[in-house]
Symmetry: C2
Subunit: 194 residues, 2 copies
DNA sequence: CTCGTTCCGTACGGTGCCGTATGGAAGAAC
DNA sequence: GTTCTTCCATACGGCACCGTACGGAACGAG
């Protein structure tokens, strides 16, 4: 965080915009407030971008690059599918910052400049989780359903972590017990309920 | 929907504001646009309310009354806990309108006028679901964890239903199969993984 | 019909943000 | 150090919304 950078790049603006989304949502992506936050004025912004929409577009592309495959790549560092799922749910317990970014992006998935990106990202993630369940031994259809359940739980968990973190298990012990419960449920052998 | 009501009440304004939240989020709770939507002007609004914050406050109270216990009451119509959980997840598959309201409210849980209401509502719902799992035979700690998982899945499901409905099972058959998977997983007997 | 209260429309000033115009500073080239 | 290009600050007009002031219409009571 350079205190007073003499000259700014387009990347400085998109990075600041991404941070603004994390703690204020898309409405916080406003030219003048971000300019003030960067110690600059609109004059700088309108040299690098044509308008606010161009900034939103570039910021969403940054998010797609930085945060989509980031999750998958991170999860991929684990060994077997159960450990990968465990890692997926571990990351969301605690890091409220990234959860806020996740949910604030999803919150504006209607926006024409946001929708296509969120769609691509969500599809990609769902496919990946589905593949995980397939590797864990579930039949294709069942793997798709488990993936939807797991990803729904992940999204909901992110929401709660971002908005009501006090409702989530606080200490490491409780988090471990909760993880056991989540994995046990998601990976439980398929069996028709009454 | 009276086409041209001669005189408006405070309830007309809160109802319109709730509808505005459902399809535009909290930023859509703006005096002048809602006035236009009601076929009136600001003059009417500022007679019934002192300012915009008062409208937000009243609207959140309306939401708490209308939509919190509404879910619990509706779920309570079913017989045993598994059927109640089934009903909970059935409602969110399909009704995108109520999902949009749910998620748009949760999306602004940081707002000082929204936070206390969302907190109360979420706590109450979580307690209820926990009680459901306790009735289903789970030990207290395990019931709390299952409840958190189930409610997370519910929240995530609402998000997906509101933003990316095409990712959810479309026809009734697929929805039934998905419900079986969800219930089978959430109610699977506790058993340590690995 | 009259009068008083309830309710609402219109007009105005204030604020925060967008986008444009323009002059000029900061850095590179030589 | 002059020149050219890159980058940015200032100043301006415009728009959407908030909140206030005030006059007048709509209704109930007598």
């Amino acid at each position: 965080m350079g205190m007073a950078q003499r000259r700014l790049s387009a990347e400085d603006w998109t990075a600041a915009a991404l941070a603004a989304i994390a703690d204020g949502g898309l409405p916080a992506v406003a030219v003048e407030p971000i300019a003030a936050r960067l110690g600059a004025t609109k004059g700088s912004f309108y040299w690098h971008f044509t308008n606010r929409d161009a900034l939103i577009e570039a910021t969403m592309q940054l998010w797609e690059r930085a945060c989509t495959d980031a999750i998958i790549d991170m999860v991929e560092t684990a060994g077997d599918p159960p450990r990968k799922l465990s890692l997926l749910f571990t990351t969301v317990l605690g890091h409220a910052r990234s959860s806020r970014l996740e949910t604030n992006v999803l919150a504006v998935a209607d926006h024409p400049l946001v929708a296509p990106v969120v769609q691509r990202v969500t599809r990609r993630r769902l496919e990946y989780v589905e593949q995980l369940f397939a590797e864990a031994g579930f039949a294709p259809g069942e793997a798709a359903r488990r993936a939807l359940l797991a990803y729904s739980a992940y999204v909901g968990q992110s929401q709660l972590a971002a908005r009501l973190p006090e409702l989530l298990p606080a200490d490491v012990g409780a988090q471990g017990a909760y993880l056991d419960t989540v994995l046990s449920a998601l990976l439980s052998p398929p069996h028709s309920v009454t």
